[in-house]
């Protein structure tokens, strides 16, 4: 029976591989993310126009909007992607209820993840795999994810009658101004991460051409990858401008053709598999994005230090490596995963001993690819609250940066005040003699802050705290820990 269907876009802002919704989520969204989102909506609208349809952006509560449109347009069916995240599933339920009330059928399909996550959980005996290795093993038993569905074309929309108000401005994509937001000056800056499906697909092609899938070659040097790159895909994956399945299968196919053999997915697909891992864990773990009430997360009395948190957030820690990263984050909305590791460790178990939930909120606000489950999962990982247990390895905010980029190019770019510092001192400028500071035109303590903590001291204190936590919550650590060496389980508590 032919339906008049209203499709709700939530995250899958694309026409390719879109078997089904746009939600506002309950997340903090910073200006750059709004811009990305709005650009993506505009792109979607343009692409829909090209095939004879359009995007309606309606503001208001779901209930009110649906109620009105269903009546006005004679809708008989609603469709949307099924989602795993809690605030989405709640919405889903609500939509289901509304549909029932209004006598609508509901059509949903899975599209935001590679697999049906419940299938992964089932294959693992009813529990989500809580170590990445275990997860990969389960996947290798399940087999390849489903192929993407074919692209939507104009033919698909030929039989659709888009409501006559098609050109009404009322339903246009709002601008940043309309939302009351002060955006970055469009005329001045190049937009490093333009939103939308078109851009996403272009980048995918570029990624494949430039053999970006070989990005793990160390010869490319880690340092280069700190810079925002034109083939980076994470924000597009997270908002759904790019389908994970398309990405997965395209990449696999291209590689197989180029090298004449195919490769196990883990080697190429690390990025989307990690995403899948955290999504799976989050879908089956209560309170995944919080510490309290989260069964896999260590319960730690993090310090409540708003001042310290603010310094971290606003790039005034006095550690150039950390501050440069936080500056890039704020200015551009994307930082390399090693950078994320560095600042996350610094905030939590490494130096400041502040809750990972605080860090997660900041990332949620600034990162273009902030994704509910992944953000929380990674923060728990890096704070050693779950999944990661080699808490003895604390990244040193000086040495880590220096190893990654010995000449300090990255620092100089994002912290111009330190531009003239010699490489020898640039990671710990407070150690530079006065003449050097004067010559560089930057006095530490005046033009750039002194280090907010003594790393050696605080990391030692934190190690002791972490040992105590783990001693009393052994059972929690076991949940997300893999195989241990005999020698490591014998190791004295105070070895270090």
């Amino acid at each position: 029976m032919p339906h008049r269907t209203l499709h709700l876009f939530r995250k899958g802002l694309r026409l390719h591989d879109n078997p089904t919704l746009l939600g506002e989520g309950g997340m903090r969204v910073g200006v750059l993310r709004w811009r990305f989102l709005l650009q993506s909506l505009q792109d979607l609208h343009a692409r829909l126009r090209a095939v004879g349809s359009r995007l309606f952006v309606v503001r208001g509560s779901h209930r009110a909007v649906l109620g009105e449109l269903v009546g006005r347009w004679g809708i008989t069916q609603i469709s949307f992607d099924s989602e795993m995240e809690p605030h989405h599933t709640a919405l889903q339920r609500e939509l289901g209820e509304m549909a029932e009330e209004l006598g609508l059928s509901v059509y949903t399909r899975l599209s935001h993840t590679l697999y049906d996550l419940s299938r992964i959980i089932e294959a693992n005996g009813g529990e989500p795999p809580l170590t990445y290795k275990k997860f990969l093993r389960v996947l290798s038993a399940i087999g390849e994810p489903e192929k993407p569905v074919r692209d939507i074309t104009a033919e698909d929309f030929q039989r659709c009658n888009t409501p006559g108000e098609a050109d009404c401005e009322r339903y246009a994509v709002p601008s940043l101004c309309d939302l009351g937001l002060d955006g970055p000056d469009e005329s001045q800056e190049e937009v490093l991460w333009p939103g939308g499906e078109t851009q996403a697909l272009q980048r995918l092609n570029k990624h494949l051409e430039s053999q970006g899938w070989l990005e793990n070659t160390k010869t490319q040097t880690v340092m280069n990858s700190l810079w925002p790159n034109t083939t980076g895909l994470s924000p597009y994956l997270s908002l759904g401008c790019l389908s994970v399945r398309t990405f997965y299968h395209t990449l696999g196919k291209v590689y197989a053709q180029a090298k004449n053999h195919s490769l196990p997915p883990v080697a190429l697909q690390g990025q989307v598999l990690w995403r899948e891992f955290f999504y799976t864990a989050a879908s089956a773990t209560q309170n995944f994005t919080r510490m309290e009430g989260n069964p896999i997360c260590l319960q730690i009395h993090w310090y409540d230090d708003q001042d310290a948190l603010e310094k971290w957030r606003t790039a005034r820690t006095g550690f150039p490596w950390i501050d440069a990263i936080m500056t890039q984050l704020r200015q551009e909305g994307w930082i390399h995963h090693l950078s994320r590791h560095a600042v996350a460790c610094f905030l939590t178990r490494g130096d400041l001993w502040i809750s990972w939930e605080e860090g997660m909120k900041v990332f949620e606000e600034y990162l273009l690819d902030a994704d509910y489950s992944i953000n929380a999962g990674n923060w728990m990982w890096l704070s050693a609250s779950a999944f990661f247990h080699q808490y003895n390895r604390i990244f040193c905010p000086v040495r880590f940066g220096r190893r990654t980029d010995p000449e300090g190019h990255y620092i100089r770019k994002y912290l111009p005040v330190l531009r003239s510092f010699p490489s020898r001192y640039i990671y710990e400028p407070w150690t530079a003699p006065e003449e050097v500071q004067l010559q560089a035109g930057c006095i530490i303590g005046k033009d750039y802050p002194l280090p907010m903590v003594c790393h050696a001291e605080v990391s030692e204190r934190n190690l002791a705290l972490m040992k105590e936590v783990r001693s009393s919550q052994e059972n929690t650590t076991k949940l997300t820990r893999g195989q241990r060496f005999t020698i490591l389980s014998l190791i004295s508590i105070n070895a270090n």
């Binding site: 990445y132 290795k133 990969l136 093993r137 290798s140 070989l214 793990n216 070659t217 160390k218 010869t219 994470s234 590689y255 490769l263 196990p264 883990v266 080697a267 190429l268 690390g270 990025q271 990690w274 891992f277 955290f278 009395h301 995963h337 994320r340 590791h341 690819d369 992944i374 999962g377 990674n378 990982w381 990661f388 080699q390 003895n392 390895r393 002791a464 705290l465 040992k467 105590e468 936590v469 001693s471 009393s472 919550q473 195989q483 060496f485 005999t486 020698i487 490591l488 014998l490 190791i491 004295s492 508590i493 105070n494 070895a495 270090n496």
Partner: protein
Amino acid sequence: MHPSMAEEEHSCSENLIGAKHQGSQAYIHLLAFSEKRRLGYFWMKRGRVNIAAKCQSFSPTQSRAKKQKTGQGVFTLQSYAQDWGNLPHHIVLHIFQYLSLVDRARASSVCRRWNEVFHIPELWRCFEFELNQPATSYLRSTHPDLIQQIIKRHAQHLQYVSFKVDSCTESAEAACNILSQLVNCTIKTLGLISTARPSFMDVSQSHFVSALTVVFVNSKSLSSIKIDDTPVDDPSLKVLVANNSDTLKLLKMSSCPHVSPAGILCVADQCHGLRELALNYHLLSDELLLALSSEKHVHLEHLRIDVVSENPGQTQFHSIKKSSWDALIRHSPQVNIVMYFFLYEEEFEPFFCEETPVTHLYFGRAVSKDMLGRIGLNCPRLVELVVCANGLEPLDEELIRIAERCKSLTAIGLGECEVTCSGFMEFVKMCGGRLSQLSIMEEVLIPDNSYSMEQIHSEVSKHLGRIWFPDMMPTW
């Protein structure tokens, strides 16, 4: 929570029914013991003590009781009161052994009989004193009243005792105070455990030593002692030996800076039953190894040695003669020799210059390429190798040699150092299926012309005969 010592005038049943406690639920099921005395079954809920006499031949009045059931599942058991209170001690004891200390303590305040059972020596053989400052600690703390109880009534029953303390000096001092009061005891196992910082080191040495020697002198049958990170000294070891040489089997004293090689030698000379020993490298000597290999000595099973740098670049490490190691192995061919290294790169020179029978090696701070090369040459007994330490050059050659020469190697872990993919593949090919544990941080492997990261995974899996992945950090 402590057992009440009040004299009960009430009948047992009233106390049973009236007992009210908070907390989550803990169940115990006790099924019949013997055919003659079929007790039926009861359960204790933290919250209410419920009794359901399910079974039969308990007493003549049981059929009546069976029909009485209140909404909350508590039976009125007036007629049973005497019986429950008169349960044989050994049965109540058996039940109590399933209960946690807290539950046991609560049960003990139900009636006089159960209270007696609570204090039966059997239940006080093992105890772990948890001493933590509640304001700052994550860890629970044993109630001071309970501690007093134990010292007063159960010191002589204690056999397996440990003290777990947090980072505060007060906790360690409290442990010492308890120790000093454990006279008239026959302790077999003693453990002093610092969960985070070595807080025993902050206690005054005289206080610590006198407390410890109380136990050493009085117990006379100590078999197992863990005193890592404490200010124990040579004289206390002498006292230990004088009183316990026949029974001592295990001694763990890593990071005890006040002990000298002579002090530990005294232990090895006199305690011929010693099977497990853990100490720091500075206490190791040729004489010690020879003493442990004397005819009168039992086979040594486990020797653990921590090699720690005190003053970076300034510590001189003595070397041990090959003949001493040989003697040890001749005497104890199965011994595990476990060495932990926390040194700076320049400090590895004295090690592994000659054949050394080490079985488990761990490098926690730095590692020297040269020394890893020597390990390949001189450590034929090596079973497990973990390198979590910063090295500056690829370790290909060294690993390959280890694969060649250390034929017993079954576990290896690498982090923070570097190996090229080709070198790593060579290593894996040579070790093959004998590697039951291969834990390599992804960033350790450096792709090169022959192998890329993508290929490593499948190639290694092939050679190991199972699916293998490196240890990965999430790519965000």
